[in-house]
Symmetry: C2
Subunit: 196 residues, 2 copies
Amino acid sequence: MKSETKSEIIDATNRVLCKHGYAGLTMQKIADESSLTTAAIHYHFDTKEELLNAFLDNLIERFTSKLASEATDPRERLTAFLDAVFSSPNPDVDGFPVAIMELKSQAPFQTPFRERFLGLDDMVREIVVDIVADGIDEGHFEETDPNEIAGLVTTTINGAHARKVALGEPLDETRHVLETTLELHLGWNPGSEVVA
Amino acid sequence: MKSETKSEIIDATNRVLCKHGYAGLTMQKIADESSLTTAAIHYHFDTKEELLNAFLDNLIERFTSKLASEATDPRERLTAFLDAVFSSPNPDVDGFPVAIMELKSQAPFQTPFRERFLGLDDMVREIVVDIVADGIDEGHFEETDPNEIAGLVTTTINGAHARKVALGEPLDETRHVLETTLELHLGWNPGSEVVA
């Protein structure tokens, strides 16, 4: 498949999910939001589920590249991680939080969705465990259980996401609370500057 | 409306949401899960949205009564609060977490749902603020910002809920992490016994 066609379908799917939710998603609406016909979309994706799996893979890929950081100091890596997670969605991917929530609520019914969310969660947990363990080894963070911190961080991120979508709460509020809590656990606040 | 009829419709709605999600919810499926006809259900609720608003009200009512506690000591109230929030769903309300997640993901599209979730959130936050402020006043908890703790607790609860539904993670794991964090903030672990 040409990558422009794929991106066009993915972007149109995002817009339909944000306007109508999973319940209102049809191939016709995706066609209406793009320059393609339903026949052209069906040529690339046999079913709605196949299209949504590709959508989710694309979304996870974009998120993963956002998480990549050049930093080596665990404190800088932690701040960069929070920046990536709590940054306002880019205009061209705006609405992704709503789209993710739509598919997350389908995870109990759609095993391929659940598997993708479990994979994403494992990846995020591993990043946090790694940063915290390195920070302890290098003497920047107080002794603590990196797995426990990873559980705290991922659960808070999931909560912040649900609150943004369902209640309209800004992500910044949660970031501040998480930073205060991390300071208590690690003895270092990810909102502060790293002094070498 | 007879309260048995109402409960029967509510329970059937819960089962349909848990089996088919919001996207698959129809009056016909609710009728199939109950002893009522679609005409009888329509007699009580004009639209699916009206029925779901009543469903959500009922659910919030049950949750509110679960949160009521006889305790007066802020430490006991905090433990009772966590017991209520993190207890495994009662068999006869089993599946409610999935049903709530289905409606939460509809909150961006359905203002009446969003208003109910905002009201529920305010109520839960106020309970936590009240417990923490009393605990500080009475010298059981260290000085801290009760609003910040309420933000931390509600976000963690929302995250735990999303993780249970989307990833199948047990609520106990989050409770443990939250208790450890609260201990750092309050100087008291809600998992420990209150010694008078």
